[in-house]
Homo-oligomer: 144 residues x 2
DNA sequence: ACCAAAATTGCAACAAAGTTGCAATAAATG
DNA sequence: CATTTATTGCAACTTTGTTGCAATTTTGGT
């Protein structure tokens, strides 16, 4: 695998030890265009006896190191995804949209087009906004 | 209770039978400025031997009848809330923001100020947007 | 190539949130 | 007040995620 060497470098850059679990999970996440649940990932790693607890911990480590973020899905569990990449191929760590397909339930991370026109809630009520998540519902390209 | 008569009428208007459970749950939801978890609601009804399954079913009924909506919380369980009311005291059934306090974890339903300027994701990619949820993170009025 | 320290992993047991089937109970209608 | 129909409570179960601990693996230095 030629990719493994890249992942190896990448993990070291993040200050993480390189383990087969981490290389495996990184590859699964890299290969997906949508956010994946713990169960999805475990399913895609059958054959490599990866324990569910280890996977939870690996994902958590990735989150703590800013490699991955998680999104609450509509059916009350977490989906994990790498940070999305915008048109200039640069990683978007901050605000981006989550598109939830009402047909297949897949969740996509999409960079936002109009960065400047964010709707704000009624302002005088004393809510201090620090970050936001924009969730879009509809039909994804795969489903029409 | 003078409120009970109003709730009674309201439930009948929705085509629902009036039961003590429904009156109770409706009152709890009406009395809260934030979205409540199943556990929160159960906690506020101690004394009235309300079963957890009955509460789940009652909330589900309210959702199916458009009385209540649910929001995925940061700790992966559902929060339930009546639809918010805007400045003109009219019920907002569609888009509104969810403000999540990073300090107390409470979730508030807030009507949006600028209805017209919604950020859209990259358009040509074939995503058909039908609805959206705007989630704001920050500090709520109670916490500063 | 080998060693020691520190981090990672697998296993078992556990906890919390939510669901299902079914019998008992309560609400609405005439 | 009797009948029909929806609602409720209970027990058992599923799914998702967590905790403690011992065994294994990684890494940096010899
Ligand atoms: Mn995302
Ligand atoms: Mn809401
Ligand atoms: Zn789809
Ligand atoms: Zn707060």
């Amino acid at each position: 695998m030629i990719r493994n060497e890249q992942y190896h470098q990448f993990l070291r850059q993040c200050g993480l030890k390189v383990t087969s679990t981490r290389l495996l999970v990184l590859d699964v996440l890299m290969s997906s265009s949508t956010a994946l649940s713990h169960g999805d990932i475990l399913g895609k790693t059958r054959g490599s006896r990866l324990d569910k607890v280890t996977l939870y911990r690996t994902l958590d480590t990735f989150i703590r190191h800013g490699i991955v973020h998680k999104v609450a899905s509509e059916d009350r569990n977490w989906l994990y995804a790498l940070h999305p990449i915008d048109r200039n191929n640069s990683v978007v760590r901050g605000d981006h949209a989550h598109f939830i397909c009402d047909h297949c339930e897949r969740i996509y991370c999409l960079p936002l087009q109009t960065r400047n026109s964010m709707p704000a809630p009624e302002s005088e009520e004393g809510f201090i906004v620090r970050a936001h998540e924009f969730r879009l519902h509809g039909i994804c390209p795969q489903c029409h």
